[in-house]
Symmetry: C2
Subunit: 658 residues, 2 copies
Amino acid sequence: MTGGKIKIQDNFWSYYRDLIRTEVIPYQWKILNDDIDVNIERERKDDSIPNEKSHAIENFKIAAGLKSGSHYGWVFQDSDVYKWLEAVAYSLAERMDENLKILADGVVDLIGAAQEEDGYLNTYFTIAAPERKFKRLSESHELYCAGHFFEAAAAYYEAAGNEKVLQIACKLADCIDSHFGSDKGKNHGYDGHEEIEIGLMCLYRLTGEKRYLNLSNYFLYIRGTDPGFFEMQKKEDKEKSPLIEGMDRWPLSYYQIHKPLPEQDTAEGHAVRLVYMCTAMADVAAITKDGKLLSACKRIWRNIVDKRMYITGGIGSTVLGESFTFDYDLPNDTMYCETCASVGLIFFARRMLENEVKGEYGDVMERALYNTVLSGMALDGRHFFYVNPLEAVPECSEKDPGKSHVKCVRPEWLGCACCPPNLARLLASLEKYIYLQKGNAIYANLFMNCEGIFETSDGTFTVKQKTNYPWEGAVCFSLNCEGKTPVIFGIRIPQWADDYSIMINRQVVNAEIKDGYIYIHQNFKDDEIILNFTMKVEKWYAHPNVRSDIGKVAITRGPLVYCMESIDNGPHLHLMFLDENTKFSYRFHEEVLGGAVIIEADGYMREPGTEDRTALYQKSGPAGKVRRKVIKWIPYYAWANRGMNEMQVWIRQALSFL
Amino acid sequence: MTGGKIKIQDNFWSYYRDLIRTEVIPYQWKILNDDIDVNIERERKDDSIPNEKSHAIENFKIAAGLKSGSHYGWVFQDSDVYKWLEAVAYSLAERMDENLKILADGVVDLIGAAQEEDGYLNTYFTIAAPERKFKRLSESHELYCAGHFFEAAAAYYEAAGNEKVLQIACKLADCIDSHFGSDKGKNHGYDGHEEIEIGLMCLYRLTGEKRYLNLSNYFLYIRGTDPGFFEMQKKEDKEKSPLIEGMDRWPLSYYQIHKPLPEQDTAEGHAVRLVYMCTAMADVAAITKDGKLLSACKRIWRNIVDKRMYITGGIGSTVLGESFTFDYDLPNDTMYCETCASVGLIFFARRMLENEVKGEYGDVMERALYNTVLSGMALDGRHFFYVNPLEAVPECSEKDPGKSHVKCVRPEWLGCACCPPNLARLLASLEKYIYLQKGNAIYANLFMNCEGIFETSDGTFTVKQKTNYPWEGAVCFSLNCEGKTPVIFGIRIPQWADDYSIMINRQVVNAEIKDGYIYIHQNFKDDEIILNFTMKVEKWYAHPNVRSDIGKVAITRGPLVYCMESIDNGPHLHLMFLDENTKFSYRFHEEVLGGAVIIEADGYMREPGTEDRTALYQKSGPAGKVRRKVIKWIPYYAWANRGMNEMQVWIRQALSFL
């Protein structure tokens, strides 16, 4: 990823990044070792979800022959360890910690010990089902786990210079390469869950080994060409028991194999799988300049962003298959909006930027990052959401079995623990997302206090951001080119910012927006650009085809989506509403939720009616008087940090056009 | 049931009752014999639902040893035959048909042939699992099927004088009585699905056999006293495979065994089971004067009617377990509202009337009957709904896996075929629901053209209704007492009728409403009472705690709930709305939907916005202009008779209080 050498030192983000280093990484390490007493919750009511322990490190020890015992957990339990290792790598890259490095080196040794002679690596199959290797790819996650290991290995090699991790990875990649491909006699399959395609690209970028690029490309192109492949494997798999219960019920689109990738137009199926697939397609296309892959990416992107994405950057409209459904179907209270899916959406957006510099990719990265991704973790770094609803009521989550996945407080850990380490590796590698460099052009996509150093054709170019984003809209860039060649410096103007001003060295200048960026093209010599976005409280309306949001507005300020919680507003949030002329005020509160801008407005509330005396249906007009009420909003990412309570993003607005 | 001898000859109801006789009964007979090529749909996306054929008669032939083969269908497939027989009985009682009687006598013979030596009767267990009889009652439906047979047997004996059917029933009841009960060594269990309790009461009323009353009472009282019973049976059941897939996931409340019946306060679990249980409780309490059972009935009734019932008389807020959820949780687009549940709610209400004469029982009977029950069948008598939504959009049903149960056209038949024959037996026995007699008091609960003859202490009392209900609000009663003793004649004043007038022999009189009835107490001699309800179009508001209906109104006229369909209004029904001052007009259309009052009003519609050019989120105000639009409503029961289209009951109303 071409983003320069970046050092982040930011009021807002360093809090979360420090949390990853000081809380999340050690906390997850204890969990991976079953060395801490936490309540591992199932992500929804489903008895087949393993939730007694993690056992992930133990699985490696058993596979390595260091201990006896049997495998426990999901068939993809290994990936928890790999994502932990990847987060550790980024954390060490930011700030070396010798003890942590020793620990991680030990994990690499353990992984190496669990690897088989021929390079195969997967503790479940080594321990429990060696005869079923690569024989039930729809469920096995073998290549998925390998992909996560490749990502971790590349990151850890780069951060800690550990040669062994790269050797293990290449040995595994070579093993897979020897099994899979279009050659006769090879396995013509692919994983049910895309990910290896991304991992292979990491290895390719690091090693230059063309086979890895080709294999990634192969896995993308074979997908969906033979939709009967998984069924055929299932029939051939002598051991009939499924690797994951209940997978039979999903359609081909769940795996994105309903048609060949270059022919896909819409975002279908399991949301995380879809965005991982798109990430890989965009990644490969950026290297191979494959127009077919890129245009499929563009079509799917359009479909997500124009028709299937929540205002929070969440994706996945249903818990059933954790999937997309159809255009404009964006229910607020039953959706999935998995943290991992928004992490993956950021991956996809970042790879699209490599292909074409358009502001909307940065807009979506920002939207997903500041809202759904950040919402995935509590302010204490020890509680995590899998699902990020836009409307949550404790009674509904408890008593409506169709909402058992909509949790109103973040669990300490999850039976399927994919989200916490995914969030950790993203935040720990935030450096990769701030800038994009293409030759002598540098594009600023995210705003935070940081220093960037880029190698241009004529020496280094340095740029320093100073800002109080996301609370204030001013961003000051200090820029300097070492050499004589001018640099093209592009700054994304966020979609939410109608109003902004630019000053260069305190002189107001005009700059036209082109594809979401303004450009300053010059040989910077200690120059200063001050960009000032007017950060107003805004009301947003959804497309009229979004049934769930009709007659409602969502409140934002800058990149942050806001929500109401009943701890601030009292219960029955659904009875609160605004009128068209509502005036908002806001103020930064140092002491609230780790410091946040809180919004208030004079709204209305209909009284809830008495349970005993108000009829279920009455014709004399709605029960309960309407009264004025001050309504308070907090940033969406910070909800559910003050105990169990109701939360709501979209609020009704009176139709006062009459 | 004490309701006099009634003869219905009604414009509105005779259409449906003729349909039952001329279409439904012969049609179902062909289906039971697999003698017709129909598309049997699964009631939701679930591969475990058998939908190749009915095989119900074939199962009996195999069990009787007349054919070889194996059992096919649900473990409760027999009940389809029993409910068919019950509908036939009522149909013959209304109008004798010798050919049909010969057919039904043959079915009785077949059932008798399938009965085992000791009286046991259930084709699944006789054919496929004799060693598991009564050993897995949570799923087996053995007693449930027996209950349906008892109901059918009593009805058929009464209608056709068939002695054999009663003998088979008593032999089966005696067999069950010998196996179940509190005595040592007996099975202390009960069925997972209540129904036998109702059936035993039918047998008891017919035969006077106290053991049947006691056994019914036993099954009610044992329920929930040992919540571990089903689990214990499952452990003991050597054959581990479940009789019905996926039953493991339901909580105890699904079966209403979370606590003893007299302690239950709320409507919990599977909605049909709950109302069948309540029907039996009310039935037994009416005989035994058991205050504990009756007060549990009253509490559960209050909970349903005040907090858990749709305006259409539908019940069951979730497809998951076909269950109730919690107070005020009444989603319009994901609910269950099974036809059978509303049929059962009518049973429950009718039995409560036996216990206490209150208008609200008749109100709920009327609400459920004219709306959800009638909606269960197409106007052609050959298509049936299992689920009766209050909002349906074909795209949602097709593409949201969480709405696969919400069908937008009635299937020709259903994998689980409980609803069509349940509806048939209710409509065919509508005579039972019109009046209630208690000694010399006669209560009129439903309004339709019919003649009633009642035996009082002093000869017969005859009452004739003349009305154009539900289209017009005038009901004319012609009354005559044979003897000299005055009769108390009570007429229910429906909850929807604010305004009504009473004339006796063309003289306006005043009559006070007491518990929902007006009373005229006299020795009628060819007297005429004309009751005139003002049938206005009304807007109803839900309790503010009903999250799904906030800001919305439902339109009714008389007992009928109305709905919008897109065939009349165009697509995007969710974009249509009213203001507070909307004026409605209505007119009877002979040619529409078999003749119906259609409602119109000047409302509004927001334009849907263009798919390509309207952003998913925008802050410049809602996309799409609002324009005036004539909105049209049809009776809810008649929806989905003109092809696949959108339907919606609740419509937004602009908040014009500002």
